[in-house]
């Protein structure tokens, strides 16, 4: 099997009841890269990530992780393989402290000494979290919650990280910070990233390759640099 392929989605079909959300989409994620998946509301972006994480069943098609089929496996065993996601809306544990949230991220890891070091590492990447270690997570600002959600996902030591609209509902200045952290995570930690965004501009700026999803179908894919000058993309997603 090609070792340079981290994730491969083949002809994936997913439905909610009788409504088909994904019409046999195929998508590749090369190891070490940042791949982006853009599309407007209801296109099926979150559904794609949910099926990779095993949160929703695939009706048809396959999902392969480093060549191994993971279609419809239990979510916890998928995390165990090194796949994790920062879900849409962050889903931090609002009544738990910042530290407890991070602890949850490391749930499957055994070595406590290593995990302790990992906290410090997270606080290096996101210094704002350090000052709020004991604070209940629900009281953090939106941007801080997003940082926590990312740090929490990193605590599982993933090789593959999916992010679902990390810019959603966050002040523009913090969006910049968060995107630069995403690049840092990719380059310095060597984690492969699949980034779902509605903010196509930023997403295409930091990614290597992109897919455009429209009502459950992939209508376009190309190098991100090429997509940025693609007239269709410019018109529909980059504001003309």
């Amino acid at each position: 099997m090609l070792k340079s392929l981290m994730l491969e989605i083949q002809e994936l079909e997913v439905a909610y009841g009788s409504i088909i959300a994904l019409h046999r989409i195929s998508l590749l994620v090369a190891t070490g890269k940042i791949i982006t998946l853009i599309g407007s509301n209801g296109a099926g972006k979150s559904t794609t990530l949910r099926s990779v994480s095993g949160l929703i069943r695939a009706r048809r098609g396959k999902i392969l992780f480093e060549g191994e089929e993971i279609t419809n496996r239990a979510p916890h065993s998928i995390v165990g393989m090194g796949i994790t996601q920062v879900p849409e809306g962050r889903m931090i544990f609002s009544n738990l402290t910042v530290l407890e949230n991070l602890q949850m991220g490391a749930y499957r890891r055994k070595a406590t000494a290593e995990i302790k070091k990992e906290y410090d590492h997270m606080f290096e990447i996101f210094p704002r979290l350090k000052e709020r270690e004991k604070q209940v997570a629900g009281t953090l600002s939106g941007g801080e919650q997003q940082m926590l959600a990312i740090a929490r996902a990193l605590m599982s030591k993933p090789r593959f990280l999916m992010l679902d609209e990390p810019s959603l509902g966050i002040a523009p200045i913090l969006v910049k910070t968060i995107f630069s952290k995403i690049v840092e995570i990719n380059q310095q930690l060597g984690i492969t990233i699949l980034l779902v965004e509605q903010n196509a501009n930023l997403a295409l700026e930091i990614s290597d390759y992109g897919y455009v999803l429209e009502t459950g179908r992939i209508i376009l894919e190309d190098k991100s640099a090429a997509l940025r000058v693609n007239s269709l993309v410019k018109e529909a997603y980059l504001g003309g």
Partner: protein
Amino acid sequence: MDKLIEVLQQLVNGVSLGSIYALIALGYTMVYGVLRFINFAHGDIYMLGAYSGFLLAPLFAQTFKFGEFDTFTPENTLFILCGAGLVMVLSMAICAGIGVLIERIAYRPLRERPRLNVLITAIGVSLFLQNMTQYRLGADPKAFPQLIPVHVVEGLGNLTILTSQLAIIIATVILLIILRFVVMRTKLGLAMRALSLNPTACSIMGVNNDIVISFTFALGSALAAAAGILVSMDSPSINPLMGNLPGIKAFVAAVLGGIGNIPGAALGGLIIGILETFVVAIGFPQWRDGIAFAVLIVILLFKPTGILGRVEREKV
């Protein structure tokens, strides 16, 4: 002065009764926390706890000389507590297993179904447990073996406290401390709290939610079983339907404290126990069982989230 003693006396009675409700209420509230579901068979686990003790005690009766001591003495106290403790811990373990099994067989297959299905199933499970116990062990009340000598604790002046009441209160305090440690300091406890906040997020942290749910049932059932044993030390007549009323009252206690809130359930149990005792003491014994329901109506009207409960946050 006599009035004060009287009030104090009723308070002790209320706290010991309330401890029982608190132990049962914890199971309702913890299961509600992780599954958003009221396990109406929970009162019957309390009953099965008493029956487990009833069946187990004879096995250890010789070793621990059950029924042979008339009073606690400094020499025999530790010995007696070891024997009673052993029966209690084993009963708790058995009921933990039964609780896990019930969830696995009856509730888990219905998890994705409408909430009403599993609620009705729980009522079915409750009837099953009651009837199965009647069928196997008889519908008539049984005398619960004497695990500890029951007598008035000496040296308290005019205050009449039975050793069995004291045992209930002390055991409850110990169990609450252990529970607090498990919930606040262990990994599974953390997962329980996280699961009650967001099951999906728990899954993508790599938590096997099923294991956490089983653990929650085990914990809740063990506490109910402890309540069953403790109550039987105090009033040693047990029957297959004994879980009904305490079960419902403990449910009210859980709602009163704020369903899903663990300290709330303990607090709610104590309040219901104390109220019940005082209602009888001030001359309305006919309200003994009614008061819990009156409380339920009042909370549902004025503070549906309970004393310590929070308004459920909208799911994203």
